[in-house]
Amino acid sequence: MPDALLSVTGLTAGYVPDLPILRDVSITVPRASLTVIIGPNGAGKSTLIKVIAGLVPVTSGTIIFEGRTITDLRPDRLTSQGIAYVPQSDNVFKSLTISQNLDLALRGAGSGGTPEPLYARFPVLAEKRRDRAGALSGGQRQLLAVAMALATNPRLILMDEPSAGLSPKAADEVLGHARALTEGGTAILLVEQNVKQALARGDHAFVLAEGQNRLDADARTLLASPELGQIYMGGGHPAAAPATEVSA
């Protein structure tokens, strides 16, 4: 792909060297696109995102972002490279106020920006800026996490199951924000259990199973494909559950 923003090639990685969770995984994320990673539980989806973020060591393979090799990047250098990471849970500092959370994220950017554009985009956060983040609802917390990711004006946001544990309405809102961001020029790599909603909004999708590439296709084509059901229902993965409605 000529305009690939991120390309991961032949990635083998895991928390301990002799126990790889991902084996020979390759994905690409084009600029300003919403790329979705789906797969049964234990497929290594979240691990893939953590490897890109520098939180899980790489055994072999390369990660290239905007032409630079970022394999084994130190996690605190991520934002300065133009990448933001939104973890699945515990993705805001609960003991700090909303404005302190955003200040911290802005400082990480080193740009000395102001939080005002973020408050304008997420008015609900502006209303509660003096409240502790721990007092927010699940959906509001995800919005704060996304706002913190945006503080650094990243070209790529890695999102790990942003809709997990949210009501269908809140999940829809968060995924809607993700889609809107790509229209503003930011690329998103999204891991989701909420397969139908994610594919409906995504551009391209990669299916992982048992730590390996299984399939990649246009998101909406995949949504209509019978293969999707097979991967979740059978496919030699005894523990695989139909994850489509899990987070509803």
């Binding site: 973020a53 939180l55 996690p75 605190d76 934002t79 990471y85 973890p87 500092f93 990480g108």
Partner: protein, 304 residues
């Protein structure tokens, strides 16, 4: 009774300084550091060496300041000692704790800290001798604050209290008003998230040891000014400092301050009803009581 209260407040001032460093290290690095009190010993002895050096450098430094028994040399030596002790704490982390930490075994960290405590304590004994020493041979006369009830306070003790409170106030400003303070709180709550938002974890860990070492050094010197310094002072202080940390709640700087004063005052007031031989048991009883009634301490928050 009031004399015991006053003495307790003074003991509390250096216990608090020790407990602040311990609570930060325990919160950020998640292990019970039994060698923390040895930083107080290092600080106390570094100040002793510093004092003697400054006294030789210029005779004016050897003169006592006003009513204090302490000299200008000691004031300068405290600053040097804080730097030396902070540097030692960072060095111990590089040499020992970081290696154990990277293996990821929490219990090994605790045992390593026991080992470090023994090594440091005995090295100090080897270098300086086992006998207790004083910063100044001058006898400090106590000021009589009141005759009935009799209330005596040494000028040095007033200095210790004022200096300890000033250091705590400075730390409070750093933690609540600076980006560094927020980053530190962020690391304490969620190190991974702090990292992906650009906080350099290694630098923050070094900063925590730096604060712990510098405050520990001040506490050690203040202890030495109030009593005397000896290689086993760390052994005598480790329990009250842990008690202060646990009473206040691990991770809470304000808890550590409150815990230090509570333990200091309680230990001294206990002298009213208990024979003095039993006073080392008071911190134990306080740990027990807090763990039974409020397991997270007075200011601590439950955490996973």
């Amino acid at each position: 009774m009031i004399q015991h209260l006053v003495d307790g407040i003074l003991v509390g001032s250096f216990l608090s300084l020790g407990a602040i460093g311990l609570t930060l290290v325990m919160h950020i690095l998640r292990f019970a550091n039994f060698s923390h009190a040895e930083l107080l010993s290092i600080g106390a002895y570094a100040a002793l060496v510093g004092t003697r050096l400054f006294e030789v450098l210029h005779p004016a430094f050897a003169a006592s300041i006003g009513p204090l028994s302490m000299t200008g040399a000691l004031v300068l030596a405290i600053l040097v000692s804080m730097s030396v002790t902070a540097a030692s704490a960072i060095l111990f982390d590089r040499l020992v704790f970081r290696r154990v930490r990277e293996k990821g075994e929490e219990l090994s960290m605790v045992f390593a800290s026991f080992g470090m405590a023994l090594i440091i304590r005995n090295l100090i004994g080897l270098g300086f001798g086992l006998h207790p020493q004083l910063y100044s041979q001058d006898i400090a006369f106590a000021m009589v604050l009141s005759r009935d009830p009799l209330l005596l306070v040494k000028p040095d003790q007033v200095f210790v209290l004022v200096a300890a409170l000033a250091i705590m106030a400075a730390l409070h400003l750093v933690l609540t008003r600076t980006g560094f303070g927020f980053a530190l709180r962020a690391v304490a709550e969620n190190p991974t998230l702090a990292q992906v938002h650009g906080v350099n974890l290694r630098a923050m860990i070094a900063a925590v040891w730096l604060i712990g070492g510098a405050l520990g050094a001040a506490a050690g010197v203040f202890y030495g000014l109030s009593y005397q310094i000896s290689p086993v002072m760390g052994r005598d202080l480790v329990l009250p400092i842990f008690a202060a940390t646990i009473v206040g709640g691990i991770g809470s700087v304000y808890g550590a301050v409150a815990g230090g004063f509570i333990v200091g005052i309680a230990s001294n007031l206990a002298l009213v009803v208990l024979p003095s031989g039993y006073s080392p048991s008071v911190p134990f009883l306080m740990i027990l009581a807090v763990l039974l009634i409020r397991p997270n301490g007075l200011f601590g928050e439950a955490r996973a």
